[in-house]
Symmetry: C2
Subunit: 382 residues, 2 copies
């Protein structure tokens, strides 16, 4: 989708892809086949473009440091990516800057064949003692869409999780949530930044199913979330767009849970819903061009993710059903259909929240998306 935005501005995107049939190659002006973890491949990419940016976190910071040392513009930069890709480091940086985050501890592991060391297990126990069971264990690297996150209820469960992990674990309080929120921010190298309105996200098992704008959350909380988003972008010195995911807790706290230094699922609604999309502002920001307005263009916007159904059916073959839904803006990512795989999203904008939710869900279901267990579907679809 960043490629579509770049193309509209007359810019050519060169894509580094592992395979020529990668979906991103379809909108690329040029393709370099290779891996972001291989220095020679990254240098081949750099030789063909003015600035390097990312749509995922699979990066090798030491390679990027070498490129930057050679004067190649890399946005977001190494320090921003360093924060985004390591949850332990993220917690340290945000806590140090005074940003509200869940109670946590980063605990070193000595996982050998004998399992986690007694000291690590004891530290987890002490944390739970202080904050109460259940707690949440998180891998500090490589987690996404609910992977790498384990709620555990006692020390035995904790020990089993720890035995699967590498050199460290992030231990967190189990936050009692009223809602989950997200804020997208775009920031230029000079520090000029803009935030889109905060949105409500509905997650099931750590996977985002639905984004609602403005969501069912008091506007004061949303405003506060926007301010936190802008502040986090400054703290981590983001360039490009940055997603900041937050918890609004039952005891009224607004806590930063996660950041991603790239266009993000919770910002897809901006394509039709805001004056400027997250993808266009990402392109503008990494090229240090003026940022576009982020105002919403509709009273209500709902964006529902499309997942592969149990039959692995390709949603492209179901387009006639999905497009029959009035006002459904369907985005399919060109990925092969697999059960449970995120294959696209649908956005509907309008004047009534129930109506836009109904239509967005109707189109997503028509395109093969399985009904979610823990999202309350709009009337008539439940």
């Amino acid at each position: 989708m960043a490629g579509e935005a770049a193309s509209a501005l007359g810019l050519s995107m060169v894509v580094l892809a592992e395979r020529p049939d990668d979906a991103a190659c379809e909108v690329a002006a040029e393709v370099v086949i290779g891996s972001p973890l291989v220095e020679a491949d990254m240098r081949a990419l750099a030789a063909r473009c003015d600035v390097i940016t990312f749509d995922h976190e699979l990066v090798d910071l030491s390679i990027l440091e070498k490129l930057v040392a050679d004067g190649i513009p890399v946005h977001p930069g190494v320090s921003t990516l360093g924060v985004a890709i390591n949850k332990g480091h993220m917690r340290r940086v945000l806590a140090q800057a005074g940003v509200s985050i869940p109670a946590h501890a980063v605990i070193g592991l000595d996982s050998g064949e004998a399992g986690p060391g007694d000291q690590a297990v004891a530290e987890v126990g002490a944390f739970a003692q202080k904050h109460g069971w259940p707690i949440v264990l998180k891998a500090t690297r490589g987690g996404y869409d609910g992977k790498g996150v384990w709620p555990v209820g006692d020390l035995d469960e904790a020990r089993r999780v720890l035995s699967q992990l590498g050199d460290e674990v992030l231990v967190e309080e189990m936050v009692a949530m009223r809602a989950e929120l997200a804020v997208m921010v775009a920031r230029r190298p000079s520090g000029i930044s803009v935030a889109w309105p905060a949105v409500e996200t509905a997650q099931v098992g750590g996977v985002c199913r639905e984004v609602l704008v403005p969501g069912r959350i008091p506007s004061g909380i949303m405003q506060q979330a926007s301010e936190v988003g802008l502040r986090v972008a400054e703290i981590v010195d983001a360039v490009g767009v940055l997603a900041v995911e937050l918890f609004w807790t039952t005891d009224g706290r607004l806590l930063v849970n996660e950041i991603a230094a790239r266009p993000h699922n919770s910002g897809h609604w901006t394509i039709e819903g805001a004056v400027t999309s997250q993808f266009e502002n990402h392109v503008r920001a990494v090229l240090d061009l003026p940022l576009g307005a982020t105002a919403p263009q509709h009273d209500h916007v709902a964006s529902v993710n499309i997942f592969g159904g149990p039959g692995g059916e390709d949603p492209v073959t179901l387009l006639a059903d999905g497009l029959a839904v009035e006002g459904a803006h369907i985005h399919l990512y060109g990925k092969e259909g697999r059960p449970g795989r995120k294959l696209g999203h649908v956005t509907v904008a309008g004047i009534d929240e129930g109506d836009v939710r109904s239509r967005a869900w109707a189109a997503a279901l028509a395109l093969g998306t399985p009904r979610p267990d823990r999202v309350e579907l709009p009337e008539g679809l439940g």
Copy 2:
């Protein structure tokens, strides 16, 4: 831009291009190098796709007839393209169906080295006698953006134009215009069709400089224009989108001037301005998928074309200036900058006509577009 719309729906567009550096190739999933006038090239294209469609009128109907005979879906079809690419045929078909068009005659020429035959000149004279000088001479094929159109004031001028023409000429009354309008229609093979609201276009020398939605024309006339557009789409059996350009005359007539069986400059505003863009509905229509809603999403939309300035500067190098204009949606087509060449367009949407015009023009001028002679610029830019 159709490629961007197809890509969003998870569809892959295969492009037939003369050269690999053609701008359309950048968003194509696959490229076939060749010419639409070479049967083997068209067959190579057909072998790689489910349906063939067009973004220009450079077609050989006899080749298309052979493909259709072999069962290859070609949308729009041969008869629709036949009407769109020959102004003489277009006039005959529309007149026969009772559509209001300018007074005209198609006159056969016998242009040898000795110049146009006396009979043709006499017929042009008789037409002018009846309808009054000046008249307009038009080539029946190959004209676009004001090319192939000659207003002439007397028989000597007419003779000079006729001597440059091939086997026939279209002679028309010089219409006294209050305004020019355009209607975009999308139509499926079954005949189901939708029209976007009619728009006002500002042409200078036959070249569209600006599109205004809803324009400064009474809504009754706009409504009538929409109905004419839908009727013309039915008459010519259009599949895909069809542009119908009309004159609103000082004596109150609404006359169809021109049709184009493809996405069209006068529909570019739909990308940001309407629920569904002309490009997405073109893709939907040629694949016989449900059409999207055409309602405008803003009170006022202005779309201003970007042309190459006298220095041949590439507007991409001026993006920082253009993007600094609040709410400017800039579309550059990736074409090489040449003085006078249409290189893109800017759309601005909002609640005040003067304001959206001002901003769209400000961005177009910032991107190097020369000031037009005969379009009244918004205050402050004139």
